[in-house]
Subunit: 601 residues, 2 copies
């Protein structure tokens, strides 16, 4: 029943007309990468996800995984689909050609790949996304022999990866983990401890699972400063006896490396994505990166996964929107309040009702605004690796700011949109048959994992804003202010440019307030963090809508561009005004929370 | 794992200190009803729901109902619990003593009973709530012989009731239903048609099911003006041959009355509440009320069910809050930003974090505000039957306004609160073990059924505001304006009274705008309806918080009352400011939606 049309046209507009992605990619070294190839890539991936992943998404929800005797069995259909993806080379688009990857820019993998993949089958998409994250940390920070041994199979998807951070008592607060890593004479470590909420910690889709595990070595400093990162495979190389893995074959031992799974959580959604309790019992591991520098390495992976999680918000909101719209186009209830539209039918189509349109347009316009910001974020991820230090600094600064916003605001909106789309469909939306209720359940985890959205807001407000003496924000404000200035005298732009300008002034005011008050009392800053993050998200979406409107105004009369202008208008009139209320809440400070008598909560 | 403490103390505060419910009830004829009896009643019901209903709530979710060969089998535990409720007399508290009911005021049944019941077991609570609704329509509008035959068993819960409105093509739009009722010579009707989304349309908890069915008689006018209401039992009286049911025994035929169930929807939540497709095939029915007046009778029941649905929002939000708070009190992550609180522990309790408190207080303060408005609404339901015509008119006017707000705003907030509480618990909130994810799924239907919240908003904006030349609103504005005036010079009240005053002025302005613009273009009014309904909801909650603060200020120093003042403060500082953004959206009118190119949606 569920339908999905991957938004290829929208990405072409963004990459080619709004962002000039191709010249940037070429300048960054992707010399053969052009618009035609990008479109082909998007079409190929859209076809794969729509024809291979989407048809088994509901089956994954209903059938789910089976946990039996320490092993997790995935539905056969998932195994077949995953295999097909490996054969098509779809699991490794951004991995290096030397490891068998496609070697295309990061923006394709981290944004477009992620959106189509999560929309079609969120549970499935998580597995390759994690593997690519492990691949990146490994290839950037691992010893060459580890890279040589593990990278190719991670890139192809033959082996998969995990992030092992959380412990039963330590989720947000990784400083208090107790997993231990004992150094051995052969240079390896014996890793022991229990990790929880490990996505795809155990499964039967790949021959090996490569865990990146945070652990503490003996005598390591307290807090996150004493954490080191280890690579711990489920199965060791068959020929391994001690020390490294240099020149060993890819054949694996038959018995596992002390890595066991003692359970998978029963959860509200994402039933085909295992959420494991993992036990490491003197498991052999190799250090990745320096001693006590595990957190920064893990954060590098985590930051990429945060963008990936933000894309889940868009992906599920988009497929929910498409199905709610398809429903609305067929459904007839009531009459247009201005007079019946279809006298030959028993009722008019529900699109005649302003409130139905409001819901659908909130969904559509937020999806498209987030997609625009995501596309820009993807391009900045590529620019971070620029050889031009100014470009790299600029990209790093913006990625620092955008990562928590992409994670938190996109997933907040994704959950709200899934709910709005369910509402459009009424009772049918609540029934399993129509698919939207699965999206509503699945997408909800995105507000929680990779750091709850409250943590994202604190990261933005308490760290990213003040970092480097406020340089991150200055890197944003320069082009933003310039854009506003450039458009000041263009009459067609004023309906977008004026509220944007006002919003940016508000953002500057609120930022100064939070920093000033936060110095005296950090509770003030923390109390406003969530509302500030949402305010900031709205400003970035406003900027993207103004930029898109500017481009679209060049092609008035073409339905695609006219719709973009109408969407921009809807955004500024019907979504952006929430910033006024957010500002008032931020200004209210911490006292309403912190002076509340705790015993009476 | 799930815990629940029914908020008895809060209701005592509301009924006894804020609303003077007891003198009102006594004046209305409940002469023996006093505060002590009310407390006993609340304690008894709290005990029953907590000890009998709550322990099987998760079982109901997991095991659900079984649809087999046209019958629905409920879990045995549900049947036992329901039976226990009948024996305790809990299914009929507001029904008349002459039918075996307790005969207590409506406010207990429709508010307190509903909250505790839905919190403990929403799926179970729906059944008696529907039966009482059928009982009320029957006893007020049915022929005496129908009352004599059906009322007692409906009141006790031995038989249950349903509302059969929706058809596959007609949910919101009942004017286009096709179910037919053919009059017979013996005064009965033969009812034929298919109804969908019929809650408890079929089940094995009671011996008989009494359906109230909307149908059209031959030659009836088009639209809702041609709809008549029929009582159609699943089983006819054993002795019935034709005509009425006068003096027949309660023994039932062994074969059904042409009433069959052809399926139950698979849905996201409420797994133990059957959602049936019901077929009536020349089923014998009796008319209830006059020909072609079915809609107004059904609306009477519907309006009560709308209040009941609003209570589901509070009930599930309350139990979600209590469990999130209990989790937060145990969970230790991170340190107080102002310096660690518990140096002997690995981490501080998460209540030191302003954002965690923000989430919990949003939940708590919205729950308590809604409960206060609900308690007032309950009392007004009793006052509607006052013999004093002025009191009845006043109560009717306010109930007209409050019903859509209680339904829409409470359930919107209920869904948001369940989500917020899940967020407090992080990954645990998403896992089934902790219960909150069930509340999140279960409560979501409340925004859809008994008329979607969009329909509620249109009812408020397009009908209730302008009805009787705006009299409904004047009945609210008089006491509201008087309250603001009374409190103007009380310094301790100014932090509540001033924003309330400002909000009320905003409401008046927006109301005039919608009426004025709506006369020229009804799309303007419809476009702002949802935001207006939420704005109005906030005003009513603001009024309740100001009233509660006024009472609490008399007892400063007592922790219960100090917390009420702190809650009122939180409401005005951290929740009420959303009204500013809502006002801007309403003022934006219909063009952003209605001028959007439909083909490009």
């Amino acid at each position: 029943m569920v339908e999905y049309n991957a938004p290829i046209r929208d990405y072409e507009f963004l990459y080619n007309e709004v962002l000039d992605a191709i010249p940037t990619a070429q300048r960054l070294g992707f010399v053969d990468f052009d618009a035609e190839f990008l479109s082909m890539l998007m079409e190929g991936w859209a076809e794969h996800t729509t024809e291979v992943w989407l048809p088994i998404n509901q089956l994954g929800d209903i059938e789910g995984l089976k946990f039996e005797d320490g092993t997790i069995k995935m539905p056969q259909e998932f195994k077949d689909a995953y295999r097909e993806g490996i054969e098509g080379g779809w699991m490794s688009t951004s991995c290096k050609p030397e490891h068998g990857g496609m070697g295309v820019p990061v923006f394709f993998q981290s944004v477009t790949w992620a959106e189509f993949g999560t929309a079609a089958n969120m549970a499935m998409s998580v597995l390759p996304a994690l593997s690519v994250g492990v691949y990146e940390v490994l290839t950037e920070h691992g010893d060459q022999e580890l890279i040589d041994y593990f990278a190719t199979n991670l890139a192809s998807g033959e082996w998969s990866g995990t992030m092992c951070l959380t412990e039963p008592h330590a989720g947000t607060d990784l400083g208090i983990i107790t997993t231990k890593a004992e150094p051995q004479e052969d240079g390896t470590y014996r890793v022991s401890g229990t990790k929880t909420f490990i996505t795809y910690g155990e499964h039967d889709m790949t021959d090996n699972i490569v865990h990146l595990v945070l652990a503490k070595t003996p005598g390591a400093p307290e807090s996150t400063k004493g954490i080191t990162l280890f690579l711990v495979p489920k199965f060791l190389p068959a020929e391994w006896e001690s020390g490294g893995v240099e020149a060993l074959s890819q054949e694996l031992m038959a018995t596992h490396n002390g890595v066991t799974c003692s359970g998978s959580e029963e959860k509200m959604g994402l039933h085909a994505s295992p959420t494991c309790v993992m036990n490491f019992d003197e498991s052999i591991g190799w250090r990745v990166g320096e001693l006590h520098e595990g957190m920064s390495l893990m954060f590098q992976m985590m930051n990429r996964e945060r963008v990936a999680t933000g894309m889940m918000g868009i992906g599920l909101a988009e497929i929910a929107y498409q199905n709610a719209l398809a429903w609305a186009r067929e459904r007839r209830q009531g009459r247009d309040l201005k007079g019946m539209q279809d006298p030959n039918e028993r009722a008019d189509n529900i699109l005649v009702h302003p409130d139905v349109r409001r819901m659908l347009l909130e969904a559509k316009v937020n999806n498209e605004g987030c997609r625009a910001l995501a596309a820009w974020t993807g391009l900045l991820l590529d620019q971070m690796s620029s050889e031009d230090p100014e470009e790299a600094e600029y990209a790093n600064a913006l990625i620092s700011l955008f990562t928590p916003i992409v994670k938190a605001h996109f997933t907040d909106l994704g959950c709200e949109t899934a709910s709005t789309c369910m509402q459009v469909m009424g009772g049918a939306g609540y029934c399993s048959e129509f698919g939207v209720e699965q999206f509503y359940r699945d997408v909800r985890i995105s507000r929680i994992w990779e750091g709850t959205n409250g943590i994202q807001a604190l990261d933005l407000t308490g760290r990213k804003i003040t970092q480097n003496m406020g340089k991150n924000l200055r890197h944003l404000m320069w082009p933003l202010t310039e854009f506003i200035e450039e458009n000041r005298d263009i009459p067609e732009m004023s309906e977008f440019n004026k509220p944007l300008h006002q919003g940016v002034r508000g953002l500057q005011h609120l930022t100064l307030l939070l920093i000033a008050e936060g110095q005296a009392n950090p509770h003030f800053l923390a109390a406003g963090a969530t509302d500030y993050c949402r305010y900031f998200g709205n400003i970035l979406l406003a900027y993207m809508w103004a930029r898109m409107a500017r481009v679209a105004l060049e092609s008035v009369g073409d339905p695609f561009y006219d719709a973009k202008i109408a969407s921009a208008r809807f955004f500024f009139k019907r979504i952006f005004p929430e910033t006024v209320g957010l500002a008032a809440k931020i200004q209210a400070g911490h006292k309403p929370m912190m002076e509340y008598p705790e015993a009476m909560m």
